[in-house]
Assembly symmetry: C2
């Protein structure tokens, strides 16, 4: 047992239907009185409902996916003009990301109210895009001071997006088990996240208005992001990063398809992780638990369904190989990657030896 683990300062307020009350209390606790609310047009009604009692200085709805630099600049100018002293973001990953971009240059505290399972609210990672180029970094100042989790705000998240977002969170948990900075604390969060997703997601699919199911998924999103931000990117995320960048495959679906193949590949070489994940899934083997869950959620099955072609496999394997973390529990060869990608391309059973 050998690790260095940084616990980051953050307050987590969790309670369904309590976002308005929590926000009022936390804004007062922070001794702030000029709130900039950041919420996309689509979330405007929702954001208005929970910020009624706040001392709002300005509303800002210019939110764009992946936080383009001009969009960040616009928000920073708006914050300065309004003399805002705190940022309240209401929305998914892009909205939280915009608040972080403002915090980065202004030092203003962020209170994040997430409405998806993206998890950005629990990490000090920021991201900005300039044209097609994405830059990311880590800065403690962008970590939201407070997260307000209210599962009632997620009831309108459509089932397919909930499943995609939830499986993305699950991939964070699984990959945290063997990522470069994996440690027992991250593993405990990740195992708890797997348990909570395996409990919550099927209930959300069965009934999108199942508040208890939504709470489990939202709580798991927090855990998965906390574990992943500390553990770093493992084999799974390195593979998906290359596939997403070079082949323009959809983010969430790529993660959902690739995850079982990485799990089946790594788990035999990581017995402690396997034991913990199996227990969290409530299955005799982690891969069985994951496949049962994927079946229940009608999860994406094959990369071929999203435009990835068989002839792209060799080049993709070439591109992934140098990115494989040296700490991966099992050595990875080019042949291993070609086999893995072929199976993921065709949607073969990951439990079969190919």
């Amino acid at each position: 047992m050998r690790f260095v683990h940084d616990n980051l300062p953050q307050r987590v307020c969790f309670g369904s239907g309590e976002a308005a009350a929590s926000l009022q209390r936390e804004i007062a606790n922070l001794n702030t009185s000029r709130v900039m609310v950041i919420a996309a047009e689509a979330e405007k009604d929702l954001a208005e409902g929970i910020t009624k009692s706040l001392p709002i200085a300005i509303w800002h709805d210019d939110v764009v996916m992946h936080v383009p630099v001009p969009v960040a600049e616009h928000a920073r100018e708006a914050a300065a003009t309004a003399n805002a002293d705190v940022l309240v973001s209401v929305g998914g990953g892009s909205t939280t990301g915009l608040a972080k971009a403002v915090a980065m240059t202004t030092g203003l505290p962020v209170v994040a109210v997430p409405t998806t399972y993206a998890g950005s609210e629990a990490t000090p990672v920021w991201g900005l895009t300039e044209g097609a180029r994405k830059t990311t970094g880590i800065d403690p100042v962008v970590l939201p001071k407070v997260i307000v989790y209210d599962a009632a705000l997620t009831l309108s998240l459509p089932v397919p997006m909930s499943v995609a977002s939830g499986l993305n969170a699950l991939a964070h948990c699984v990959d945290s088990m063997w990522a470069p900075n994996a440690d027992p604390i991250n593993a405990a969060f990740a195992a708890e996240g797997i348990r909570s997703l395996a409990e919550g997601l099927p209930r959300v699919v069965a009934d999108p208005f199942d508040l208890d199911g939504r709470e489990h998924a939202l709580y798991a999103a927090y855990l998965s992001a906390t574990a992943f931000a500390s553990a770093g990117s493992g084999l799974h995320h390195k593979i998906c990063h290359v596939l997403g960048g070079a082949y323009n495959l959809p983010h969430a679906q790529t993660h959902a398809v690739v995850l079982p193949y990485v799990l089946a590949f790594n788990a035999p070489a990581a017995p402690e992780a396997e034991r913990r994940m199996a227990q969290a899934f409530g299955a005799s083997r982690a891969i069985d638990g994951l496949q049962d869950l994927r079946r229940e959620l009608d999860a994406p099955r094959a990369l071929a369904d999203y435009g990835f072609t068989e002839d792209a496999i060799p080049a993709a394997a070439e591109a992934i190989l140098p990115a494989v973390p040296p700490t991966n529990p099992r050595p990875v060869t080019g042949q291993d990657l070609r086999r893995l990608l072929r199976a993921a391309w065709s949607g073969a059973d990951p439990r079969e030896k190919s």
Copy 2:
């Protein structure tokens, strides 16, 4: 699911045989150059061995149990005279406690190197005694900035003290499950702590030099303290606090004896906690897991063995009743407490209905 959870900023460095290297790195990271080493005479050799490369301004060995106010004052003056800019504590709870007392008035950062499973290093709780009166409080400034866990430093902790200290940590975990601020995050830490103690303590008893066993126990001490500091005192700690204060019973033994009776009382009314603890113990019921572990450790059995008398039961129950947390999962009557204390006094099987 409804909670507010504060994550506190702290760096945890874990590695056997790495204390010297970790200290050197972390003291440099903190930009400090005048170290005050706080270590009792008994830990002097151990402390010298790991602080050789540090820029030491002063050594301080006037450490006394429960941190009497004059002892705290002495240490504060020593820090001021030496113009120290960082405190490095090497020792058990009293040593960490003294460093906290200095931090409280000076704001100096603390780097804690624990040599027992007391867990004080992971909490913002300080304690001072004036005569027989103990005052405790919470102040973020006393939370050590860095913890350096090195299980090699705990190899000389005698087995009986290891067991007592370990069962004290176990009580923190169990009580965190239903304490006033119990929440799922605390429960995850507590479950991980139970798992790690149930793995480590029997190995320490079988072989005090089993480094892997020591690592499990030390890691669990961290988890238990983190969970307990956040969750607060539950029924178990309220009972032990009264017994310790009014009847002068030994701290660790009292905890070891009382814990199974509180667990047997509360668990049927806390099914989720019961499920998690049973799983962590690897037993069909949590109480079976605890009793198996206690047997393996030859743990203290009955309050009668420590001077508690049968005729003290009614008054003790009276004294405990007003301290029972209103949030306890099961209502507690005076009769319940008398039954529980009688069973703990005699060492009866906690699984038997009395």
